[in-house]
């Protein structure tokens, strides 16, 4: 059964069919909400509110787009409204200019998996919220630029530019963190 059929099931009154969408997309939804809100409690509230909104407005869902894109857009908007913060902030250009190359450093190769995960999470939390969100959408779920544009409401060239800058900043912070850990351990 595909997603459009499930949507039709829910619309015809089978509420429990909506559980499929909750189960399938709740992890990514909470990741998006967390990137914007910055804490799990608010992220959970945002996700719950977003799913209820999605259920109420399911009749407006057009099957031309993916259900996940439509849902994540709701999560994004709800989280932005909830957190009442500007998530697209300017970046320090000098930091970007001096960004170092991740492949050259081979930082990830030397870090244990758990440490790497912690470092990545930490780096993402230190980045501007919008940039962390873009990287998450692009790398975690393989969303194409077009879908990211639909979710965030930005245009495609803007997403590409922001993604490029976010990637640079991420690499720089990642390398910086890794070097500091090396110093700490040594």
């Amino acid at each position: 059964m595909n997603e459009n059929q499930r949507v039709q099931q829910v619309l015809s009154g089978n509420t429990s069919a909506f559980a499929y969408f909750v189960e399938t997309y709740q992890d990514m939804a909470i990741t998006i909400a967390y990137r914007i809100c910055g804490n799990m409690q608010d992220a959970e509230d945002v996700v719950q509110e977003s799913y209820v909104k999605a259920y109420r407005n399911l009749h407006t869902f057009r099957s031309e787009s993916k259900f996940s894109t439509w849902l994540y857009r709701i999560v994004y908007n709800t989280a932005v409204t909830h957190s009442k913060t500007r998530i697209w902030m300017g970046m320090n250009e000098t930091e970007i200019e001096h960004a170092t190359d991740l492949t050259d450093q081979g930082a990830d190769a030397r870090l244990a998996e758990r440490e790497r995960r912690e470092v990545v999470t930490d780096v993402l939390e230190r980045m501007p919220k919008g940039d962390a969100l873009l990287l998450t959408l692009y790398y975690m779920e393989d969303h194409p630029v077009k879908e990211i544009a639909s979710i965030t409401g930005l245009n495609e060239p803007n997403v590409k530019v922001k993604l490029f800058r976010a990637r640079k900043m991420f690499k720089e912070l990642m390398t910086g963190t890794y070097s500091m850990e090396e110093v700490g351990n040594g």
Binding site: T15, I30, V52
Partner: protein
């Protein structure tokens, strides 16, 4: 060359990001579904305009149906017991009007009660 390097980086970053996603707590799905099911049950309970129309007709039928049955019984009883002349007397018409007024008032009270209940909801 540069493109290939970006591709390698992308693969590395993808690998890094795959494991950093947040996990929704176990009770979140239950919370969401519980709220949705409660809302949908409440929505179903809300009387639709058609349903409200049905209630109105039902009240009309019950109250005025009883009234006409009672009036028919009064007319029949008066005719059999007191004769045709009584049906033309003011006393008989007074009784008929009194019964009609009582039942009409009852219907009006029912409608006001429905209106107040809907307002409260």
């Amino acid at each position: 060359m540069k493109e290939k390097k970006i591709e390698i980086e992308d693969v590395q970053l993808r690998e890094l990001f795959q494991k950093t996603g947040k996990k929704a707590p176990e009770n979140l799905q239950y919370r969401i579904m519980h709220q949705i099911e409660t809302e949908s049950a409440l929505t179903r309970k809300k009387a639709s305009p058609a349903k409200r129309g049905m209630t109105l007709l039902k009240d009309l039928r019950n109250i005025f149906g009883t009234m006409y049955i009672l009036l028919a019984a009064i007319v029949g009883g008066s005719y059999l017991l007191l004769g045709e002349e009584f049906l033309k007397s003011p006393h008989f018409w007074g009784t008929v009007i009194l019964v009609s007024v009582i039942f009409s008032s009852l219907w009006m009270i029912t409608r006001i009660d429905c209106y107040v209940r809907e307002k409260k909801k």
